[in-house]
Symmetry: C2
Subunit: 317 residues, 2 copies
């Protein structure tokens, strides 16, 4: 079976690990959000790609959910000692090596998709990781501050301010003019099934879908999604702040309706919500309630099995 997943960072990465365990023989392609990417100190940092790669490759810090295990932050301490204004970013010493290799390869002319492939030659994630695009896309957020509105990079809002500044707009700059990375549309076209992991529906999945051509390609495929909202709150991260910014309620039902039914010009055929949200209805979409908290490897694998089960049921399999 060929499966394509769209994915953001931590939530998506953990789900993918469960999916790999649930369907070890599936040929898995992950189309990863790059709207979170940021250039700092001349390095191109791709948080979602790296989180997925480290998680599937066994190098992730399991507690934080991002960055490398056995990590140190000595370079960052020094950046703080230099009084660098961007030292709020959590740049680990081991993680830095990934950005150095990426920078070296990009300087040599390689697009991000080929850099990702080269990095994965070490990590062996057991899935094909593709950036959504090789073009530069950066999510910017308009925030309200005490002194008026200003626009900041997503990372500044998310990491530095922990999404505490109210967002009045979220824009994936460059997305409209971006082209899907080589292999993305081909993978979707060849897929038996598309899964939307419980990633952020606005700044992760939503950004991938803004790259022209990707949403259209999905329209030809069965799509099952998993709600990142459980009992009216995000399972992790601050997805509520993103949903509020685009005028969507923070609930499993509202996110399901935001994605919409594929039969009605939306995305979804099936929508998994948590048992706490049993009874949710999304017109035109088969909704099923199962445990959606990724407590450990087993519960996560079971979630993936449930998603595959729903897909199979929808196709009469």
């Amino acid at each position: 079976m060929r499966i394509v997943c769209l994915a953001g960072g931590i939530g998506g990465a953990r789900f993918l690990r469960g999916l790999r365990a649930a369907a070890p023989d599936a040929e898995l392609t992950v189309v990863v959000n790059t709207g979170d990417d940021i250039t700092m100190y001349g390095l191109r940092i791709c948080p979602d790609l790296d989180t997925v790669m480290y998680t599937l490759g066994g190098g992730i810090d399991e507690v934080r959910g991002w960055g490398r295990q056995d990590e140190t932050f000595h370079a960052r301490e020094e950046l703080q000692a230099y009084d660098v204004p961007t030292a709020w970013f959590g740049l680990g010493d081991r993680d830095l090596a990934t950005h150095l290799v990426r920078r070296q390869m990009m300087d040599a002319g390689y697009p991000l998709s080929q850099v990702t492939e080269a990095l994965c030659a070490r990590w062996q994630p057991g899935a094909r990781l593709l950036p959504m695009t090789d073009d530069r896309v950066e999510t910017h957020v308009r925030v309200r501050t005490a002194t008026g509105e200003r626009v900041v990079h997503f990372q500044e809002w998310w990491v530095r301010h922990r999404a505490a500044l109210p967002a009045t707009a979220i824009v994936a700059v460059g997305a409209q003019d971006a082209t899907p990375a080589p292999g993305v549309l081909e993978a979707v076209a060849a897929a038996d099934l598309v899964l939307l992991p419980p990633s952020n529906p606005v700044v992760s999945i939503g950004t991938v879908l803004q790259v022209p051509g990707i949403a259209d390609a999905l329209a030809a495929k069965p799509v099952v999604g998993l709600s990142p909202i459980v009992g009216g709150a995000p399972v992790r991260g601050m997805a509520d702040a993103c949903l509020t910014a685009i005028g969507v309620e923070t609930s499993a039902e509202a996110v399901g309706r935001h994605y919409g039914a594929r039969s009605d010009g939306g995305l979804l055929d099936g929508w998994l919500v948590d048992t706490a949200d049993a009874g949710v209805a999304v017109p035109g979409v088969e909704v099923r309630a199962v445990p959606l908290l990724m407590r450990d490897a087993e519960t996560t694998t079971q979630m993936a099995r449930d998603a595959l089960r729903l897909a199979a049921d929808l196709s009469g399999g």
Copy 2:
């Protein structure tokens, strides 16, 4: 008193620390070799500038003589795990922050001299550190290998091969077209004295002198040098390999003669050699034998005092 020193890395930096102790009230300007600089992973690495800055600023690893104290090498370990061909370079995690700041500033349009000034705002080296030039100069070495001759960056020869490959030529690429960094010629013009620390006479001092205008400016000033060769061998490093490459014998006398007498179109008024080399003669140059091993702070400070004493005697002071 205003003193200008030309300097390379470890030997020069240690001597400068002694000089600062010997002449705490002197206004000290250091013109630092940048021919060792190298671009790796998009970062501009300036080993000599950083060694002098860390040494005078109290951040150096005293045992290695280069890089930061309390250093870790996790990023480098990861570069090795990625099988990066340049992972032989000793890039420490704390040290990396310096290169990240430099890169950020250079991307913003600042020349190396201004970057250096900004970095020194943190380190407070107690001396003005100037790169010899803001232009790109890189020392390349033609080496003889089992399969023929090839040209490598100085760092590859020095660090990776520990200068073990015989060098048949050493060329500071770009030096002939370089301009002294802002402040260099002004500092020399205002100096009461120029000192040549026991830095590598070929790839450190020799490279600085290749930048058009610097040697001419020195011709108007009293110059005292300290031999980096003691008893026919370099005190540290592999200066002998460099001297051999340019056809100069590895001896205190030969290096003194290589620099030559200022009165005869060379550089020197005075030349300090080690007591082991007492009896050395350099025509037209006042040679004095004193202990030249920088065993500790006191012996190093005494070396600086001896250099200042020789200069004072030469000027009849």
